[in-house]
Amino acid sequence: MSMQTTSQNDKKLYGIIAEFNAPEEIIDAANRAREAGYKKMDAYTPFPVHHLDDALGFQQTRLGWVVLFAGIVGALGGFFLQWYANVVFYPLNIGGKPLNSWPNFVVITFECAVLFSAFSAGLFMIIRNGLPRLHHPIFGAHNFAAATRDKFFLCIEARDAKFDTEQTRQFLEQLNPNHVSDVKDE
């Protein structure tokens, strides 16, 4: 039931996509594809499927380190702000407390650490994922709207070294997906 219109035929091919019904199927498919030697491929699922990333051969993200670093920067910055304001910039006798009464500075230091690390985590995820990206070839794929509902897609991209339109399509066909279709680039 391929719905490719003639208009898409002359467009450059982004990849070939196969649609599955269940998480197990997509993991199985991903494993098979990896074993078949495909590297540039990605899966599209309505919810995070466990071990799918391993199946696709992704390596772990370095997000953790970024967050840790940001947290340390935040903490140091927060404390420095208070120390500088009270000791260097405008030293004042506040209720007979010493200028650098550090126990008073703990809370804000902590809050700054959390603030920095939290936002680094969120923004890192969004940016590394290349978001926001409103337009993407994959959106053009057949029945792709189901990817946020109940269907599971595996797409092998044209830029993969081993990619060959005919072979790759056959390879995907034999994973008995609901169907296989081309994804055109624009």
């Binding site: 405008y90 004042l92 926001p132 990206r133 409103l134 337009h135 959106f139 053009g140 794929a141 057949h142 029945n143 792709f144 709207a145 624009e186």
Partner: protein
Amino acid sequence: MPQYFPPSANAFLKWSILGGIVFLVVLVTALAAYARVYRNQVNVPVEQPVGYQHSLHAGELGIDCRYCHNSVEVAASANIPPTEVCMTCHSQIRVGTPQLAGVYESWETDQPIRWNKVHDLADFVYFNHSAHINKGVGCNDCHGRVDRMSAIWKAEPMSMGWCLECHRAPERYVRPREEVFNLAYERPAAAEQLELGRSLVQSYHINTNKLPQCSTCHR
């Protein structure tokens, strides 16, 4: 399934986000700068009912500041001179020149001249001229080269931050007492000034602990 957004949408969104951020930053900095300059009215000459020229009197004629601002050494206020002070000279000199109309009118009608304030501190700030004059702060440190201004303007922002520059480190600004009224006085280069300043702070008993305290200026 059709695309919801054209390819251009990506670039468009990215740029609008970037642009928004830039715009905000610019806006805030612009407002801040505007606030500092415009609100403090720095370098904006102020219209006066009488076209009195400091450049002429203090500049060319070299009349001492204290001739008119007679309480500057003993009181908080430097004193805007009463009309009679103008009349000490102008009952003889330049009698009847149109620029002096305001003065004569005041003198005859016994109505005071309504000068426009140029250096107008907030009501909760208590500035004392005598304290500064006697501790070696020169007129032009705050008022600039009055002897070169025809109409007076604010030479400095006179904001709290500005006052604190000196109140936190008087040695960087003070000068010998005898130079206080010398508008042409040039501070020596940083190094010497520091040396000089420290010794003056010593000999004038300037309490550097006191200067940055709130109670020094606010009550």
